[in-house]
Protein backbone atom coordinates (compact mmCIF):
# COMPACT_ATOMS: atom_id res chain seq x y z
CA UNK A 1 0.00 0.00 0.00
CA UNK A 2 2.69 2.45 0.96
CA UNK A 3 4.49 1.53 -2.24
CA UNK A 4 1.52 2.77 -4.22
CA UNK A 5 1.43 5.98 -2.20
CA UNK A 6 5.03 6.55 -3.20
CA UNK A 7 4.71 5.91 -6.90
CA UNK A 8 1.22 7.14 -7.76
CA UNK A 9 1.71 10.91 -7.37
CA UNK A 10 4.73 10.83 -9.66
CA UNK A 11 3.04 8.58 -12.23
CA UNK A 12 -0.10 10.71 -12.29
CA UNK A 13 1.98 13.84 -12.70
CA UNK A 14 3.76 12.14 -15.62
CA UNK A 15 0.44 11.10 -17.15
CA UNK A 16 -0.95 14.60 -16.80
CA UNK A 17 2.12 16.13 -18.44
CA UNK A 18 2.02 13.65 -21.29
CA UNK A 19 -1.65 14.39 -21.94
CA UNK A 20 -1.16 18.16 -21.78
CA UNK A 21 1.81 17.94 -24.14
CA UNK A 22 -0.11 15.77 -26.57
CA UNK A 23 -3.38 17.73 -26.55
CA UNK A 24 -1.85 21.20 -26.79
CA UNK A 25 0.55 20.27 -29.57
CA UNK A 26 -2.25 18.31 -31.29
CA UNK A 27 -4.49 21.37 -31.22
CA UNK A 28 -1.82 23.72 -32.58
CA UNK A 29 -0.48 21.33 -35.19
CA UNK A 30 -4.00 20.58 -36.47
CA UNK A 31 -4.91 24.26 -36.79
CA UNK A 32 -1.61 25.32 -38.34
CA UNK A 33 -1.44 22.18 -40.51
CA UNK A 34 -4.97 22.84 -41.81
CA UNK A 35 -4.07 26.45 -42.52
CA UNK A 36 -0.98 25.38 -44.45
CA UNK A 37 -2.98 22.81 -46.41
CA UNK A 38 -5.56 25.43 -47.46
CA UNK A 39 -2.88 27.91 -48.47
CA UNK A 40 -0.98 25.22 -50.35
CA UNK A 41 -4.06 24.12 -52.28
CA UNK A 42 -5.89 27.38 -52.84
CA UNK A 43 -3.57 30.19 -51.83
CA UNK A 44 -0.94 32.11 -53.79
CA UNK A 45 1.48 29.90 -55.72
CA UNK A 46 4.62 31.34 -54.15
CA UNK A 47 3.57 29.94 -50.75
CA UNK A 48 3.93 26.36 -51.93
CA UNK A 49 7.73 26.06 -51.96
CA UNK A 50 8.26 27.27 -48.37
CA UNK A 51 5.46 25.02 -47.12
CA UNK A 52 6.95 21.97 -48.85
CA UNK A 53 10.40 22.76 -47.45
CA UNK A 54 8.97 23.08 -43.95
CA UNK A 55 7.17 19.75 -44.35
CA UNK A 56 10.36 18.08 -45.59
CA UNK A 57 12.33 19.32 -42.55
CA UNK A 58 9.59 18.55 -40.03
CA UNK A 59 9.17 14.99 -41.25
CA UNK A 60 12.83 14.22 -41.87
CA UNK A 61 14.54 15.24 -38.62
CA UNK A 62 14.28 12.96 -35.57
CA UNK A 63 11.85 14.36 -32.98
CA UNK A 64 14.59 14.23 -30.37
CA UNK A 65 16.81 16.45 -32.48
CA UNK A 66 14.02 19.01 -32.87
CA UNK A 67 13.34 18.85 -29.15
CA UNK A 68 17.02 19.51 -28.34
CA UNK A 69 17.20 22.24 -30.95
CA UNK A 70 14.25 24.15 -29.50
CA UNK A 71 15.39 23.75 -25.88
CA UNK A 72 19.12 24.38 -26.16
CA UNK A 73 19.12 26.91 -28.99
CA UNK A 74 16.57 29.13 -27.23
CA UNK A 75 18.57 28.82 -24.00
CA UNK A 76 21.78 29.71 -25.86
CA UNK A 77 20.00 32.72 -27.31
CA UNK A 78 19.21 33.84 -23.80
CA UNK A 79 15.51 33.05 -24.11
CA UNK A 80 14.49 30.99 -21.09
CA UNK A 81 11.71 28.59 -21.97
CA UNK A 82 10.32 26.13 -19.46
CA UNK A 83 10.94 22.52 -20.53
CA UNK A 84 7.19 22.04 -21.11
CA UNK A 85 6.95 25.11 -23.35
CA UNK A 86 9.97 23.96 -25.34
CA UNK A 87 8.45 20.48 -25.69
CA UNK A 88 5.13 21.92 -26.89
CA UNK A 89 6.92 24.04 -29.50
CA UNK A 90 8.99 21.09 -30.73
CA UNK A 91 6.02 18.72 -30.85
CA UNK A 92 3.94 21.34 -32.66
CA UNK A 93 6.75 21.80 -35.17
CA UNK A 94 7.02 18.22 -36.37
CA UNK A 95 3.35 17.46 -35.62
CA UNK A 96 2.30 20.27 -37.95
CA UNK A 97 4.38 18.84 -40.80
CA UNK A 98 2.53 15.53 -40.55
CA UNK A 99 -0.93 17.01 -39.96
CA UNK A 100 -0.45 19.30 -42.97
CA UNK A 101 0.29 16.31 -45.21
CA UNK A 102 -2.63 14.31 -43.82
CA UNK A 103 -5.15 17.14 -44.13
CA UNK A 104 -3.89 18.08 -47.59
CA UNK A 105 -4.29 14.58 -48.93
CA UNK A 106 -7.76 14.36 -47.35
CA UNK A 107 -8.82 17.59 -49.06
CA UNK A 108 -7.54 16.60 -52.48
CA UNK A 109 -9.42 13.29 -52.23
CA UNK A 110 -12.73 15.18 -52.39
CA UNK A 111 -13.89 14.78 -56.02
CA UNK A 112 -13.43 17.74 -58.36
CA UNK A 113 -17.11 17.53 -59.27
CA UNK A 114 -18.09 18.75 -55.79
CA UNK A 115 -16.14 21.96 -56.38
CA UNK A 116 -17.58 22.37 -59.89
CA UNK A 117 -21.13 21.93 -58.65
CA UNK A 118 -20.50 24.58 -55.99
CA UNK A 119 -19.00 26.98 -58.52
CA UNK A 120 -21.84 26.45 -61.00
CA UNK A 121 -24.39 27.20 -58.27
CA UNK A 122 -22.59 30.41 -57.33
CA UNK A 123 -21.82 29.15 -53.84
CA UNK A 124 -19.06 31.16 -52.13
CA UNK A 125 -15.92 29.08 -51.80
CA UNK A 126 -15.68 29.50 -48.03
CA UNK A 127 -19.19 28.12 -47.54
CA UNK A 128 -18.49 25.21 -49.86
CA UNK A 129 -15.31 24.47 -47.93
CA UNK A 130 -17.02 24.25 -44.54
CA UNK A 131 -20.35 22.73 -45.55
CA UNK A 132 -19.19 20.28 -48.19
CA UNK A 133 -15.46 19.79 -48.67
CA UNK A 134 -14.22 19.52 -45.07
CA UNK A 135 -17.11 17.29 -44.06
CA UNK A 136 -16.32 14.87 -46.85
CA UNK A 137 -12.59 15.04 -46.14
CA UNK A 138 -12.87 14.16 -42.43
CA UNK A 139 -13.83 10.47 -42.86
CA UNK A 140 -11.19 10.17 -45.59
CA UNK A 141 -8.38 11.46 -43.41
CA UNK A 142 -9.49 10.01 -40.05
CA UNK A 143 -7.37 6.81 -40.20
CA UNK A 144 -4.05 8.52 -40.93
CA UNK A 145 -4.85 11.46 -38.67
CA UNK A 146 -5.52 9.22 -35.68
CA UNK A 147 -2.58 6.91 -36.45
CA UNK A 148 -0.29 9.88 -36.31
CA UNK A 149 -1.90 11.10 -33.10
CA UNK A 150 -1.24 7.77 -31.36
CA UNK A 151 2.40 8.09 -32.40
CA UNK A 152 2.42 11.60 -30.96
CA UNK A 153 1.32 10.27 -27.55
CA UNK A 154 4.08 7.67 -27.57
CA UNK A 155 6.64 10.28 -28.52
CA UNK A 156 5.79 12.36 -25.43
CA UNK A 157 8.18 9.97 -23.64
CA UNK A 158 11.00 11.76 -25.48
CA UNK A 159 10.23 14.94 -23.55
CA UNK A 160 11.92 13.49 -20.47
CA UNK A 161 15.18 14.14 -22.32
CA UNK A 162 14.72 17.86 -21.58
CA UNK A 163 13.45 17.22 -18.06
CA UNK A 164 9.71 17.24 -18.71
CA UNK A 165 8.35 14.59 -16.34
CA UNK A 166 6.31 12.26 -18.54
CA UNK A 167 5.05 8.72 -17.89
CA UNK A 168 8.17 6.86 -19.01
CA UNK A 169 10.39 9.41 -17.26
CA UNK A 170 8.48 8.76 -14.03
CA UNK A 171 8.72 4.99 -14.49
CA UNK A 172 12.43 5.22 -15.17
CA UNK A 173 13.05 7.19 -11.99
CA UNK A 174 10.82 4.96 -9.84
CA UNK A 175 12.44 1.72 -10.96
CA UNK A 176 15.57 2.82 -9.14
CA UNK A 177 13.98 4.53 -6.14
CA UNK A 178 10.88 2.38 -5.44
CA UNK A 179 11.48 -0.91 -7.23
CA UNK A 180 8.88 -3.38 -8.56
CA UNK A 181 9.77 -2.89 -12.23
CA UNK A 182 7.02 -5.14 -13.58
CA UNK A 183 4.20 -3.28 -11.82
CA UNK A 184 5.53 0.07 -12.96
CA UNK A 185 5.79 -1.02 -16.57
CA UNK A 186 2.33 -2.47 -16.43
CA UNK A 187 0.89 0.79 -15.16
CA UNK A 188 2.63 2.74 -17.91
CA UNK A 189 1.31 0.28 -20.47
CA UNK A 190 -2.24 0.69 -19.17
CA UNK A 191 -1.93 4.46 -19.55
CA UNK A 192 -0.87 4.27 -23.21
CA UNK A 193 -3.42 1.57 -24.00
CA UNK A 194 -6.30 3.56 -22.50
CA UNK A 195 -5.46 6.95 -24.05
CA UNK A 196 -4.67 5.56 -27.49
CA UNK A 197 -7.66 3.24 -27.18
CA UNK A 198 -9.84 6.34 -26.88
CA UNK A 199 -8.15 7.73 -30.01
CA UNK A 200 -8.99 4.57 -31.92
CA UNK A 201 -12.62 4.75 -30.82
CA UNK A 202 -12.72 8.36 -32.05
CA UNK A 203 -11.33 7.21 -35.39
CA UNK A 204 -14.14 4.73 -35.98
CA UNK A 205 -16.64 7.47 -35.13
CA UNK A 206 -15.06 9.92 -37.56
CA UNK A 207 -14.91 7.35 -40.32
CA UNK A 208 -18.64 6.82 -40.09
CA UNK A 209 -19.71 10.48 -40.40
Amino acid sequence: MSWYLTVLPLLLQGALNAIILMLVSLLFSTLIGAGLAFVDLWGPRWCRAPIRIFSWIGRSLPPLLILFAVFYLTTAAGWRLSPMTAAIIAFTFFGTAYKYEIIRSGLISVPKGQFEAGAALGIPFSSLLFRVVIRQAIPLMAPSYISHTTVLLKETSLASAIAVLDVMGAVNGLIYSAGNTMALMLMAAVFYLVVNGIMIVIETRLRRT
Binding site: I123, R131, V132, Q136
Partner: protein, 263 residues
Protein backbone atom coordinates in the same frame (compact mmCIF):
# COMPACT_ATOMS: atom_id res chain seq x y z
CA UNK B 1 -26.98 47.77 -64.79
CA UNK B 2 -29.83 45.54 -65.84
CA UNK B 3 -30.61 45.83 -69.56
CA UNK B 4 -34.30 46.18 -70.28
CA UNK B 5 -36.14 42.96 -70.99
CA UNK B 6 -36.35 42.40 -74.68
CA UNK B 7 -38.14 39.38 -76.11
CA UNK B 8 -36.16 39.38 -79.34
CA UNK B 9 -32.76 39.46 -77.65
CA UNK B 10 -31.18 36.01 -77.31
CA UNK B 11 -31.08 34.57 -73.79
CA UNK B 12 -27.57 33.29 -74.34
CA UNK B 13 -25.25 34.71 -76.91
CA UNK B 14 -21.78 33.35 -77.63
CA UNK B 15 -19.47 35.39 -79.84
CA UNK B 16 -16.33 33.99 -81.40
CA UNK B 17 -15.40 31.72 -78.48
CA UNK B 18 -11.86 30.36 -78.59
CA UNK B 19 -10.46 27.96 -76.03
CA UNK B 20 -7.01 26.44 -75.92
CA UNK B 21 -5.51 24.01 -73.43
CA UNK B 22 -1.80 24.64 -73.78
CA UNK B 23 -1.03 24.52 -77.47
CA UNK B 24 -4.13 22.52 -78.32
CA UNK B 25 -7.00 24.64 -79.59
CA UNK B 26 -10.27 22.97 -78.62
CA UNK B 27 -12.65 25.73 -79.72
CA UNK B 28 -11.73 27.64 -82.85
CA UNK B 29 -14.18 30.50 -82.90
CA UNK B 30 -17.73 29.48 -82.04
CA UNK B 31 -20.69 31.85 -82.18
CA UNK B 32 -24.16 30.80 -81.18
CA UNK B 33 -27.39 32.55 -80.19
CA UNK B 34 -29.94 30.76 -78.05
CA UNK B 35 -33.30 32.52 -78.18
CA UNK B 36 -35.45 32.83 -75.08
CA UNK B 37 -37.43 29.64 -74.49
CA UNK B 38 -35.56 27.59 -77.03
CA UNK B 39 -33.93 24.22 -76.51
CA UNK B 40 -30.67 23.89 -78.41
CA UNK B 41 -28.96 20.52 -78.64
CA UNK B 42 -25.27 20.21 -79.41
CA UNK B 43 -24.21 16.95 -81.02
CA UNK B 44 -20.91 15.79 -82.43
CA UNK B 45 -18.16 13.20 -82.00
CA UNK B 46 -16.16 13.08 -78.77
CA UNK B 47 -13.32 15.58 -78.88
CA UNK B 48 -15.37 17.96 -81.01
CA UNK B 49 -15.39 20.58 -78.23
CA UNK B 50 -19.10 20.44 -77.40
CA UNK B 51 -18.66 19.91 -73.66
CA UNK B 52 -15.93 22.57 -73.53
CA UNK B 53 -18.27 24.99 -75.28
CA UNK B 54 -21.02 24.32 -72.74
CA UNK B 55 -18.58 24.81 -69.87
CA UNK B 56 -17.55 28.15 -71.38
CA UNK B 57 -21.14 29.38 -71.10
CA UNK B 58 -20.93 29.61 -67.29
CA UNK B 59 -17.16 30.05 -67.28
CA UNK B 60 -16.32 26.73 -65.63
CA UNK B 61 -13.81 26.95 -68.45
CA UNK B 62 -12.68 30.49 -69.12
CA UNK B 63 -12.63 31.14 -72.87
CA UNK B 64 -9.20 32.12 -74.18
CA UNK B 65 -11.06 34.83 -76.07
CA UNK B 66 -14.63 35.61 -77.04
CA UNK B 67 -17.74 36.93 -75.32
CA UNK B 68 -20.58 35.28 -73.44
CA UNK B 69 -23.76 37.24 -72.85
CA UNK B 70 -26.60 36.14 -70.63
CA UNK B 71 -29.80 38.00 -71.40
CA UNK B 72 -27.70 40.80 -72.88
CA UNK B 73 -25.24 41.05 -69.98
CA UNK B 74 -21.59 40.41 -70.69
CA UNK B 75 -20.10 37.89 -68.24
CA UNK B 76 -16.52 39.10 -68.55
CA UNK B 77 -14.36 41.10 -70.94
CA UNK B 78 -12.93 38.96 -73.73
CA UNK B 79 -9.64 37.25 -72.97
CA UNK B 80 -8.97 38.60 -69.47
CA UNK B 81 -8.94 36.20 -66.53
CA UNK B 82 -11.86 36.70 -64.17
CA UNK B 83 -12.24 35.69 -60.53
CA UNK B 84 -14.73 33.36 -58.90
CA UNK B 85 -16.45 36.18 -57.04
CA UNK B 86 -17.12 38.25 -60.17
CA UNK B 87 -18.73 35.24 -61.88
CA UNK B 88 -21.10 34.33 -59.05
CA UNK B 89 -24.05 36.60 -59.97
CA UNK B 90 -24.14 35.26 -63.55
CA UNK B 91 -23.63 31.64 -62.51
CA UNK B 92 -26.58 31.88 -60.12
CA UNK B 93 -28.78 32.60 -63.13
CA UNK B 94 -27.61 29.51 -65.01
CA UNK B 95 -28.41 25.98 -63.90
CA UNK B 96 -25.94 23.27 -64.80
CA UNK B 97 -26.42 19.52 -64.74
CA UNK B 98 -23.37 17.29 -64.98
CA UNK B 99 -22.67 13.87 -66.44
CA UNK B 100 -21.60 12.60 -63.00
CA UNK B 101 -24.51 14.31 -61.14
CA UNK B 102 -22.13 15.92 -58.60
CA UNK B 103 -24.66 15.98 -55.79
CA UNK B 104 -23.11 17.04 -52.49
CA UNK B 105 -22.39 13.61 -51.09
CA UNK B 106 -22.61 14.59 -47.43
CA UNK B 107 -26.15 15.98 -47.75
CA UNK B 108 -29.57 14.39 -48.23
CA UNK B 109 -31.39 14.89 -51.51
CA UNK B 110 -33.54 17.57 -49.87
CA UNK B 111 -30.58 19.39 -48.32
CA UNK B 112 -28.84 19.36 -51.71
CA UNK B 113 -31.73 21.41 -53.08
CA UNK B 114 -32.12 23.67 -50.00
CA UNK B 115 -28.50 24.60 -49.27
CA UNK B 116 -27.62 26.43 -52.54
CA UNK B 117 -30.83 28.48 -52.38
CA UNK B 118 -29.97 29.66 -48.88
CA UNK B 119 -26.30 30.39 -49.41
CA UNK B 120 -26.45 31.74 -52.98
CA UNK B 121 -29.82 33.48 -53.06
CA UNK B 122 -30.22 34.30 -49.37
CA UNK B 123 -33.56 32.53 -49.11
CA UNK B 124 -34.76 31.63 -45.64
CA UNK B 125 -34.92 27.93 -44.79
CA UNK B 126 -38.74 27.53 -44.79
CA UNK B 127 -39.03 29.12 -48.23
CA UNK B 128 -36.11 27.13 -49.62
CA UNK B 129 -37.53 23.96 -48.13
CA UNK B 130 -40.98 24.47 -49.65
CA UNK B 131 -39.43 25.13 -53.03
CA UNK B 132 -37.17 22.08 -52.76
CA UNK B 133 -40.03 19.78 -51.79
CA UNK B 134 -42.18 21.06 -54.65
CA UNK B 135 -39.38 20.48 -57.15
CA UNK B 136 -38.57 16.99 -55.86
CA UNK B 137 -42.28 16.23 -56.14
CA UNK B 138 -42.21 17.48 -59.74
CA UNK B 139 -39.41 15.08 -60.69
CA UNK B 140 -41.14 12.23 -58.86
CA UNK B 141 -38.82 11.99 -55.87
CA UNK B 142 -40.90 13.35 -52.98
CA UNK B 143 -40.48 10.04 -51.16
CA UNK B 144 -36.69 10.10 -51.55
CA UNK B 145 -36.13 13.54 -50.03
CA UNK B 146 -34.34 12.27 -46.91
CA UNK B 147 -32.09 9.79 -48.74
CA UNK B 148 -28.38 10.32 -49.14
CA UNK B 149 -27.11 10.44 -52.75
CA UNK B 150 -25.33 7.10 -52.25
CA UNK B 151 -28.72 5.51 -51.54
CA UNK B 152 -30.21 6.68 -54.84
CA UNK B 153 -29.93 5.25 -58.34
CA UNK B 154 -28.11 7.24 -61.01
CA UNK B 155 -31.39 8.33 -62.57
CA UNK B 156 -32.73 9.49 -59.21
CA UNK B 157 -29.52 11.35 -58.42
CA UNK B 158 -29.68 13.09 -61.78
CA UNK B 159 -33.28 14.15 -61.16
CA UNK B 160 -32.26 15.58 -57.78
CA UNK B 161 -29.44 17.42 -59.55
CA UNK B 162 -31.96 18.91 -62.00
CA UNK B 163 -34.16 20.00 -59.08
CA UNK B 164 -31.15 21.58 -57.39
CA UNK B 165 -30.39 23.61 -60.52
CA UNK B 166 -34.05 24.58 -61.04
CA UNK B 167 -34.38 25.77 -57.45
CA UNK B 168 -32.18 28.72 -58.36
CA UNK B 169 -34.83 29.93 -60.86
CA UNK B 170 -32.26 29.94 -63.65
CA UNK B 171 -32.71 31.80 -66.91
CA UNK B 172 -31.09 28.95 -68.78
CA UNK B 173 -30.32 25.30 -68.06
CA UNK B 174 -27.09 23.71 -69.26
CA UNK B 175 -27.06 19.92 -69.63
CA UNK B 176 -23.69 18.21 -70.06
CA UNK B 177 -24.23 14.65 -71.35
CA UNK B 178 -26.55 14.07 -68.43
CA UNK B 179 -27.60 10.57 -69.43
CA UNK B 180 -24.20 9.23 -70.49
CA UNK B 181 -23.33 7.79 -67.07
CA UNK B 182 -26.72 6.13 -66.60
CA UNK B 183 -27.74 2.53 -67.07
CA UNK B 184 -29.87 2.33 -70.22
CA UNK B 185 -33.09 1.60 -68.31
CA UNK B 186 -32.68 4.81 -66.27
CA UNK B 187 -32.16 7.18 -69.21
CA UNK B 188 -35.89 7.56 -69.91
CA UNK B 189 -36.85 8.98 -66.51
CA UNK B 190 -34.28 11.77 -66.86
CA UNK B 191 -35.17 12.59 -70.45
CA UNK B 192 -38.83 12.78 -69.46
CA UNK B 193 -38.07 15.49 -66.90
CA UNK B 194 -36.05 17.42 -69.50
CA UNK B 195 -38.79 17.09 -72.07
CA UNK B 196 -41.31 18.61 -69.65
CA UNK B 197 -38.94 21.49 -68.98
CA UNK B 198 -38.57 22.20 -72.68
CA UNK B 199 -42.34 22.08 -73.17
CA UNK B 200 -42.76 24.61 -70.35
CA UNK B 201 -40.53 27.07 -72.16
CA UNK B 202 -37.23 26.72 -70.29
CA UNK B 203 -34.25 27.92 -72.27
CA UNK B 204 -31.91 24.95 -72.53
CA UNK B 205 -28.54 24.06 -74.00
CA UNK B 206 -28.12 20.31 -74.18
CA UNK B 207 -24.94 18.45 -75.02
CA UNK B 208 -26.09 14.94 -75.80
CA UNK B 209 -25.51 11.63 -77.55
CA UNK B 210 -29.25 10.87 -77.53
CA UNK B 211 -30.10 11.60 -81.16
CA UNK B 212 -33.78 10.69 -80.90
CA UNK B 213 -34.16 13.01 -77.92
CA UNK B 214 -32.34 15.85 -79.69
CA UNK B 215 -34.63 15.42 -82.68
CA UNK B 216 -37.84 15.40 -80.63
CA UNK B 217 -37.15 18.13 -78.12
CA UNK B 218 -34.86 20.70 -79.72
CA UNK B 219 -35.78 23.85 -81.58
CA UNK B 220 -32.27 23.91 -82.99
CA UNK B 221 -29.64 21.21 -83.36
CA UNK B 222 -25.98 22.20 -83.61
CA UNK B 223 -23.44 19.81 -85.07
CA UNK B 224 -19.90 20.44 -83.86
CA UNK B 225 -16.70 18.90 -85.13
CA UNK B 226 -13.04 19.85 -84.67
CA UNK B 227 -13.84 22.87 -82.54
CA UNK B 228 -16.25 24.62 -84.87
CA UNK B 229 -19.96 24.51 -85.59
CA UNK B 230 -20.24 22.63 -88.88
CA UNK B 231 -24.03 22.88 -89.29
CA UNK B 232 -26.91 24.25 -87.26
CA UNK B 233 -30.59 24.13 -88.03
CA UNK B 234 -33.99 22.80 -87.07
CA UNK B 235 -34.03 19.06 -86.28
CA UNK B 236 -36.02 18.19 -89.42
CA UNK B 237 -33.23 19.62 -91.50
CA UNK B 238 -30.33 18.23 -89.46
CA UNK B 239 -31.75 14.72 -89.28
CA UNK B 240 -33.04 14.65 -92.86
CA UNK B 241 -32.08 11.27 -94.32
CA UNK B 242 -29.42 10.90 -96.98
CA UNK B 243 -27.03 13.71 -96.04
CA UNK B 244 -23.74 13.20 -97.82
CA UNK B 245 -21.64 15.57 -95.64
CA UNK B 246 -19.68 15.04 -92.41
CA UNK B 247 -22.88 15.37 -90.41
CA UNK B 248 -24.40 12.53 -92.44
CA UNK B 249 -21.34 10.39 -91.77
CA UNK B 250 -21.50 11.17 -88.03
CA UNK B 251 -25.22 10.36 -87.87
CA UNK B 252 -24.92 7.02 -89.62
CA UNK B 253 -21.93 6.16 -87.42
CA UNK B 254 -23.83 6.91 -84.22
CA UNK B 255 -26.93 5.12 -85.51
CA UNK B 256 -24.80 1.99 -86.04
CA UNK B 257 -23.33 2.30 -82.55
CA UNK B 258 -26.79 2.82 -81.12
CA UNK B 259 -27.98 -0.41 -82.71
CA UNK B 260 -25.01 -2.30 -81.36
CA UNK B 261 -25.56 -1.10 -77.80
CA UNK B 262 -29.27 -1.83 -77.94
CA UNK B 263 -28.83 -5.22 -79.57
Amino acid sequence: MQPARNESRPMVSLTDIHKSFGLKEILKGVSLDVPRGHAVSIIGPSGSGKTTLLRCVNYLEQPTSGEVRLDGELLAPSGSPVGERALRPARRKMGMVFQQFNLFKNMTALENVIYPQMVSLGRKRPEARDKALALLEQVGLADRASHMPSELSGGQQQRVAISRALAMDPKVMLFDEVTSALDPELVGEVLKVMRTLAENGMTMIIVTHEMAFARDVSDTVVFMEQGVIQVAGPPAEIFAPGRADRLGAFLSRSARQGMETHA
